[in-house]
Symmetry: C2
Subunit: 394 residues, 2 copies
């Protein structure tokens, strides 16, 4: 076992699926260490997916996921795999089988999930950056809770072969870093994009997302918003939803559920895995989603996507909270976790439904704990967000 994994005080790294690979000896990332969420294949190693039953019933991967290979080819040093919520279907980071990684920036509190170990390791400074995945918020929420930079890219921009799926039409490869320069360079490597980014030309503030988060959060984000306005321009309030965002989450949930069941029904039916609380109920529900609801959700999703295309033309940036609050205390009761989910999803589903890139910036805090401000841009404007993040953090 390598030193970092052996000495892991955070509970961030997977001991069952340990792996260490030196990157190439020349390249822009020589000297940088990273970790990957344990849903990314590494040739010759098993991928755990946050489930002891998954690990037991699957053999070693034949090939390394292209995303991991790109980082190794740039010279970065892979030091380990990190814990994920079970089958990635949770936002808490409290895995019933493997525990919850430590959030050094909010002691006694969860990291958020599902990319829990990746966020924990980056926040603690154990690695320079880490790769996670974001289907419904699994990078954006932990980035906010842990006080680090986190990116959900445009859906479809970064290949997901060799990555375990939850809901393919929402799944994205995201990443975390503390340093904005590293964050941008990792992004440009994963996005295969060296071109200068367009200039942000207009700032919108998502009033309805702020209302979901509540006045305390809106107040806590005020100076961060001023900082963005100073760079981009006078903020214009906008209502994102064409109906309450609490309705939008239904479209997200139906589609995510149907896709998750399509992806994993066979394995769940055959192996009858011992799924932990929350995840278990969600898969049971996913098996029952009404086809009419799915059809309706598909139609509404495309309408929402078109609405966002119009809203985000010409270098527009949309600001919103990354989360409806700071990290919850560890071992909060199920009702509190459900409430987090219910208030987080209306905010997080916007980028998911419309396939948009979203960056979470550690620019605020509340009660001494981190709180992220998020920026969304048009599909494909990923580097605009990365460059703007650099200017805001610099």
């Amino acid at each position: 076992m390598n030193e970092i994994v052996a000495n892991d005080q955070l509970g961030a790294f997977c001991r069952d699926t340990q792996v260490e690979i030196e990157g190439v000896s020349h390249g822009p990332f020589v000297g940088l260490t990273f970790a990957v969420k344990d849903i990314y294949d590494v040739a010759g190693h098993r991928t755990g997916f946050g489930s002891p039953d998954w690990l037991r019933t699957h053999g070693p991967a034949a090939q390394t996921a292209p995303v991991v290979q790109r980082l190794l080819d740039a010279g970065a040093h892979l030091v380990g795999k990190t814990h994920t919520d079970e089958l990635t279907w949770s936002l808490t980071g409290e895995n019933a089988h493997y525990g919850a990684p430590v959030n050094v920036n909010a002691p006694g509190r969860i990291t958020g999930g599902s990319s829990s170990g990746s966020a924990s390791a980056v926040a603690a400074g154990v690695v320079d950056f880490a790769v996670g995945s974001d289907t419904g918020g699994s990078v954006r929420l932990p980035a906010s809770f842990c006080g680090i930079l986190g990116m959900r890219p445009t859906h479809g921009r970064i290949p997901l072969d060799g990555v375990l799926p939850l809901a393919p039409s929402f799944d994205t490869c995201g990443w975390f870093a503390r340093d904005a320069g590293v964050f941008e360079r990792v992004g440009r490597t994963l996005l295969c994009d060296d071109a200068p980014a367009p200039t942000p030309a207009r700032l919108l503030i998502a009033q309805d997302a702020l209302e979901v988060a509540g006045e305390t959060i809106a107040h806590a984000l005020r100076s961060a918003l001023d900082k963005v306005a100073a760079l981009v321009g006078m903020p214009e309030p906008v209502t994102v939803g064409d109906e309450p965002l609490t309705r939008w989450i239904d479209y997200f949930r139906f589609l995510q559920g149907a896709e998750a069941w399509a992806c994993h029904r066979e394995w769940i039916t055959r192996e009858k895995p011992a799924l932990g609380p929350g995840v278990k109920e969600r898969f049971a529900w996913a098996a029952t989603v009404d086809p009419q609801d799915i059809t309706r959700a598909r139609t509404r999703r495309e309408e929402i996507a078109r609405r966002m295309v119009e809203m985000l033309g010409g270098g527009t940036v949309l600001a919103l909270p990354s989360a409806p609050g700071i990290a919850l205390l560890r071992n909060s009761p199920p009702k509190v976790l459900d409430d987090l989910r219910a208030r987080a999803l209306p905010i997080l589903c916007i980028a998911g439904l419309a396939r948009l890139p979203q960056v979470s910036l550690p620019l605020a805090e509340l009660d001494g704990c981190p709180l992220g401000l998020s920026l969304i841009a048009a599909r494909g404007n990923d580097t605009l967000l990365l460059e703007l993040a650099g200017r805001l953090m610099g």
Copy 2:
């Protein structure tokens, strides 16, 4: 068999791997028809790879390649699979097993390959657009020979799961169209990019690539170059290579050969397929590439990529010929085909080695046959090329 495939006078469509799928009923591509090269998986159908032996030894695909699914999800109507050179390793379009599709814009001449059927069908107006693939020129060259638009995107920008590989570090998903509007919309759908493109700011002319093509070609491209200059700015001559481009092709060839052998050694060794002329010799050679040559090629490739990053900063566009001449006559002798390859690869390897996007525009002709002008931009500047193509063709 559907009507288009049954009535195919071009020899562009695969009869053995026929497929037809209506796209969704709402979407921006409703009313548009397309075809895909027979290396893209469609669930429930076999993928032929231009080889009867491959077809015989492989079962139906489990899943549809995401690229194909994106187009169906946008409402486009898939009418069939198109012929490819065997295992995609040729530039001629003359498949020893399935013949050579017709090039309606250069009667009696080849389409070029390996995306031969896709180029043939688009040129003839049988489909609105078609998907091909480009490893060493397999979209750019047939686009030039057939007088249509063809795009090789930034390497890594479009996912290749469910697509048969030749040399993964060079393989890209490319596409053809006649209409520049369709061409751009297909590109934005495949690239997942709605953002406005950066403005082209500077025009370089690749003198050494023009010299490889020869004076007749340079002369034939002159008015096309003037057209680009009128939009982008005064052209500046530049020498692309840090050594003769004929040396660069060795790095390309060694890496391509090593990767092709790594991908297909097992199948070739086991099945001993009856490969056609040219392809057979190339695979035999690929098995013998010296590891030292591979190491050297890898190093040089990264130096070349860095050189191109510097050359192409700030919205720079590099103009060069798409091909060293017009389409060859059908059934030309092997020596003539080898000569085409030797003169085409120094031009085509630039984008491949440096992982850059390149568009081929049908803006010139010679002896009554089409000839393409190509534009290369920085990695990630794909939409810049697509928008510029629209303005140049409009």
